[in-house]
Amino acid sequence: MKKRGKGVGIIFYGTGYGNGFPDISKAEAELQDDGKVAIYVGATEVGQGAKTVMTQIAAEALGLKVEDIIFINEDTMVTPDSGTAAASRQSYNTGNAIKKAAEALKALIVDKAVDKMKLNTNIGLKVENGNVFVKTFPSRKISFKEIAEDYKENPLKVEEEFIAQTTEMDEETGQGAPYWPYTFSACGVEIEVDTETGIVEVIDGVLAQDVGKALNPKLVEGQMEGGFAMGMGYGIFENLNLKKGKMKNNSFTNYIIPTALDMPDIKNVIVEDPESTAPYGAKGIGEPVMIPVAPAILNAIHDAIGVRITETPVTPDKILKALK
């Protein structure tokens, strides 16, 4: 017999290293000969879209197009340390460092523009599309490229760092504020349990994620759908089967991860509530997107068959045992 059930999971997650551990990202911004700006960060792109959103952040801060940002990352020979691509911290931490570096370079370019245009002050200047100009007299302008000509030997370059605010928890009481910022998500699923075979199928899903501000909604959705699939794998498929410290399920034949046929067409809900300390309000979401999924599925299994299972993954053998 097939039994259907619905379930919800709701979580909050502290991004960054947390618990007082130094969480530092550095970034450099450098004006190029052609008026473009190079950003150097040690951040790693693993497909999550770090290069894209970080380029967007730099472009936004400098008033340039994304094509005019040369983004250099991962090469430790030339980039400063931006910490690991872990703890859902890169958009927030390194994003903040990039924004600071881009703004500092912009201020430096404006100062040089004041000298070069022989102005009295930097008040009332605007930076747009690679030009610095007097707001009330727009034809009085100078381009980034013209400014760069004076610094061919020694390009204008700044380095900034961002340190996230985290405090250590009290060891005795467990009290404190170990993370900042926190992010919130909720997941709802409908599942079907086959009581003959014990197989659980996730037939529908919705995932809502608080992102602060979605710098790139399509990338956010990609993270959400990926997180849903990973959470589903964690909930009902993926079993390392450790025996005396050895993985018994060490191939895709027995370590089952979701295929396209297992993944329902989920609905993504992006919740925006800009975070004041974040670059343009954006918080990290890489990990939180997967966390509410398994609890939602286990709650739905309870709804379907009336048995509460407390161990993941809920493989068919566990369902059949629970039904006896």
Binding site: Q48, T253, I257, A260, L261
Partner: protein, 159 residues
């Protein structure tokens, strides 16, 4: 050593191979076609998928000598000579169907083999068509979106 003849991406080759060489090694090491990725090496993940005589095969499980006289398409064979992307590749970019990219070549070739036979598949048919290709990043939804979009682009007269 053994010599075989085969066509790869429209080009004829006559290649010396070891009898125990796999097709994926022939493609990557003899022809330097590095777009074909080796994931699990045991035919489970689909990263090394290529099209051989119209069918998708995992090139890690095919011996090179079995490709005698075969007509093979790898990911490098999809874009036009002027660098224009194949509509499936373009749709993958447009829909954000790629994250780390490791499954992408195999995924796109499975999509091509599907669309060659079934130009307007349903979403379930698309999911079946790529169910032999594992993706750890995307959760597949955007890949299915991209293949749906590619079907429309191809119908409007892509290559």
């Amino acid at each position: 050593m053994k010599e075989i003849n085969l066509t790869v991406n429209g080009k004829k080759h006559r290649i010396k191979i070891d009898e125990n060489m796999r097709l994926i090694d022939l493609l990557r090491e003899k022809l330097n076609l590095l777009g074909t990725k080796e994931g699990c090496g045991e035919g489970e993940c689909g990263a090394c998928s290529i099209i051989m005589d119209g069918e998708v095969v995992t090139s890690c499980l095919v011996m090179a000598f079995q490709a005698e006289s075969a007509d093979i398409i790898t990911i490098e064979g999809l874009e036009k000579e002027d660098g224009t992307l194949h509509p499936i590749q373009q749709a993958f970019l447009d829909e954000g169907a790629t994250q780390c990219g490791f499954c992408t070549p195999g995924m796109i070739l499975s999509a091509k083999a599907l669309l060659d036979k079934n130009p307007r598949p349903t979403r379930v048919e698309i999911k079946e068509g790529i169910s032999g290709n594992l993706c750890r990043c995307t959760g597949y939804n955007k890949i299915v979106d991209a293949i749906e979009k590619a079907a429309i682009l191809l119908e409007k007269g892509g290559n």
